[in-house]
Structure formats: C-alpha cells, structure tokens
Point group: C7
C-alpha cells in the first residue's frame, strides 16, 4: 500500500475517492470521502461526519475543511490493517 | 452533487447564492447565503445568523468573515441529504 | 443591497463612511464609522466604541485596528434589515 | 480630523509626534508618543507607560513594540473628542 | 551516526524507512516508519501509533501529518543509544 | 535621545552594545546587552538574565532569542529617564 | 567570546559542535550538542535530553527540532561564565 509515496501529498492523492479520518487541532475528528485537496491541505470531504470522544456528533455532508485546522489525515482503511 | 469538484474552492464556487454553514475556530457557527469568497477563504454572507450550542444567538445580516477564523464550510442542504 | 459584491472586499468598499460592527477574536466588539481599509483588513474607524457583553465599555474615537484581530465585519444597518 | 485618511497607515502617519493609546492582545495597554512605525505595524514609542485595568503599572520609556502584539492604536486625543 | 548531517533536513532524509518518534505541540506523540517528508516538515508515517502519557492510545496506520503540529522528530533508535 | 529614529529598527540599532529589557509574550522578561538583531527581530543578548515578577530567575549568559516571542524591547536606561 | 557576532545566526554558527540549552514555548527545555541549523531556526541536536522544572525527563538522543517552537537558545557554557 505504501508503494509510490515519495512526497507527503502522494498519500492524499492515493486517497481520493476513499474514506479518510481527519484529526483536527481541536479534539474533534471528521470522517468522510476525500474528493479534493490543494497544497494548503484544504480538503473537500463528501458524507462528512463529526466525531468527538469516539461518538458521532453530527452529519455535515459535503464539506470544505481548511488545512490549517488539521493535525493528521489517515485513510480509514489503514488503521485496521496495521 | 459532487460532480465537478476537482479543487477545494470548486465547492465554494458551487455554493454561491446558496445557504452555507460555517464552523468557526471559536465554538460558534454562522449560517447565511454565500455571496463571495477569495483565495484566503474570506467570505461574504448575506442574512447571516450566529449560532452557538444549536441556538440562534443574533442576526448579523450582511457580513464579511475572515478566512483564518474558519474550520469548515458546508452547504446547508448537504447535511440532510447524506 | 447585495448588488455589486463579487469579491469579499467589495462589501468593505461599499461600507466606507457607514457605521460597521467589528467582532474581534477576543470576545469584544467595536462599532464605528469605516474610514479606510487595506488588503490585510487593517481598518480605520472613526467614533469607535468598544462593546463587551452588549455593554458599551469605552469610547476610543479614531482608531487603527489590525486585521488579524478580526472575526467578522458587518454593516450596522444590515442586522436590523434582515 | 479624519481628512486625509485614505489608507489605514495614514492615521499612523498623522499621529507621529503625538500621544497614542496602544491596546495589546494581552489585556495590557501602552500609552506614549509615536516616533516611528513600519508596514508590519512595529512602532517606537517615547515616554511609554504600561497600563493594566486602568492603572499605570510601570514606566518603560523609549520602546520598540512588535506589530503582531497589537489590537488597535488610537490617538490619545480622539477618545475625549468624540 | 551523526556523520553527514549538515542541514536539519539531512536527519529526516537519513531516517527514511526507519521508525521515528514525533512529539506534537499537543502533548501527544506519534511513532511510526517515516516514508516521506517535505520542506514544510509535513511527513507520512506508516504503521503510526498515537501515544499519550507513555500509553499507546490507538493505531492509526498510514498517516499524513502536518508539519506545523510538530515540536521534534527523533529516530526511535537514538534515545536508547545515548 | 530620540533623534535619528525614523524607522522602528533605528532604535534597535542605537541600542547595540547597551543593556535592554525584553518583554516576552510569556510573562517573562530578559535583560542583557544587545549584540545583534535582524529584520525578524531575532536578537542576541550577552549577559542575559531571566526575570519573572520582578525577580531574577536565572542567568542564561549569551543568548539567541527568536523575534516572534517578543512583545517589546526597551533600552534599560530609558525607563528611569522618563 | 562575543567577538564575531554581527548577525544573530552567527551565535548559532559559533555553537556548532557545542552543548546548547534550548528553551521551548512550552515550559520544557532541551539540552544537547548542536549539529545543524537553518534560517527557520530548525535545529538538529545530538544527545538531546528533555528537561522540565530542572529535572531530566527523558533522553531523546538525535533530534530534529522545529524552529517555531523555540524561545531562546543559549550555549550551555555561557550561563556559568557570566
């Protein structure tokens, strides 16, 4: 799975169309399908859901998320695989 | 609905003239009609209302909002659709 | 009223000479007449008054305000109209 | 008094040699005579005094103040005039 | 071991494919295998695990981490060697 | 004393070789002899001492101080003269 | 000792290969041997140790430290000499 990751943005490119977990600088998390990103790590998620303390707080659907609010982004499939 | 979103700003462009939900870095939210935005994600909302803890706090009407105060922006119609 | 707002700064340009409400990142607000602004959203207000918890705290008159302290700017007339 | 203020920095230019009030992002304030400023809003005050909760805390004399610590700058004469 | 480190990024380059410890500005830490980094110190970790107060909190697998959330990065092998 | 201060950095230039007081964004202060500075207001102090609540906490000697941690810089001689 | 310090980075250049004390914006400190630095004040330390409240908390060995987390850097030898 890690083939082809030479630069950090390669991971985001590989994750387009897939579900990702986004950890925010606030303690909240978003999960959703990655549709687009740019060099500022601004991203667009589809079907986004806000999670806090492992509980789904609300469904926010299609969402533009500012990159400077993000700590990390992980493909949702990768946690269980490792 | 997600057709045509290749870059994050495409979602904002598609949302012009529509109602959006804006989550601020403070715990507050604004809802209003998106009139304009720029590359700093500065936006202008019409009919903006400030919401805190799911309660409408005040109506602030036409509003210029600085981009660096924003966490995410979601078309108000998308939460219920997903 | 929203005619002619194609870019966010158009709203500030339309508000020159008019009373505006400025929400700061601190919980305070300023109201005053917008005299000038620049691309950093630095602004000059005349007759500025500082407001906290809906109470007028002090009159600060002519004031230069740094843009990076601002959350939103709203023409004072727009809240009541909507 | 507000004649000739087309850009925000015009107010600072008009205030050279005059007493100004500087509100810092911390709750403190400085008053002093504006000697110089630059585009970062770094300023030099002469005869600066630090004020907290309306009390003079200490005299700091000639002072270089970083612009990124400032909320607003107001000519000391303007509060009483309005 | 310290041969060949003339610029700070040389240490990251030497650590590719190896396990590193990443201290975040929040009190959390991540450990994982460094796959890629860029000049913003954005990094990609494989097999990442989140650690807080010396306890493993969760496995997050393949992860893109924003550089501006990082305090320091240390090859996991170096602590015990010194 | 204020002759020749046309730009803010002129005050720092005039203070080279003299004792200065540096107020940090944390509540701490440093005093020491200014040896060098750059446009980021990074400075080098010799004989630096850390002060907190008017008490000398520790002697740190020769010190490189990052500019983005600074609120204000004042020549130590100027407070008493005014 | 202070000969040859005309610009702030000269002190870091003089400290290569020597032990330094690094005060972080968090209350922690690192001590270690300076191997490399860049214009962002990113540094690499060898034999780094984390110190909090004058107690050694942990040995972290070879470490890349982001410049934006630093308050000041002092050659470890300079405190005792002054």
């Amino acid at each position: 799975m890690v083939n082809g990751i030479e630069r950090p943005l390669d991971l985001l490119n590989n994750s387009k169309g897939k579900e990702i977990l986004v950890q925010l600088k606030s303690e909240k998390q978003l999960v959703g399908t990655l549709l687009a990103f740019d060099i500022h790590i601004n991203i667009v998620l589809d079907n986004a859901k806000e999670i806090h303390n492992n509980e789904m707080k609300r469904s926010i659907g299609l969402t533009f998320l500012r990159g400077d609010t993000i700590v990390f982004i992980s493909p949702a499939s990768s946690a269980s695989k490792h």
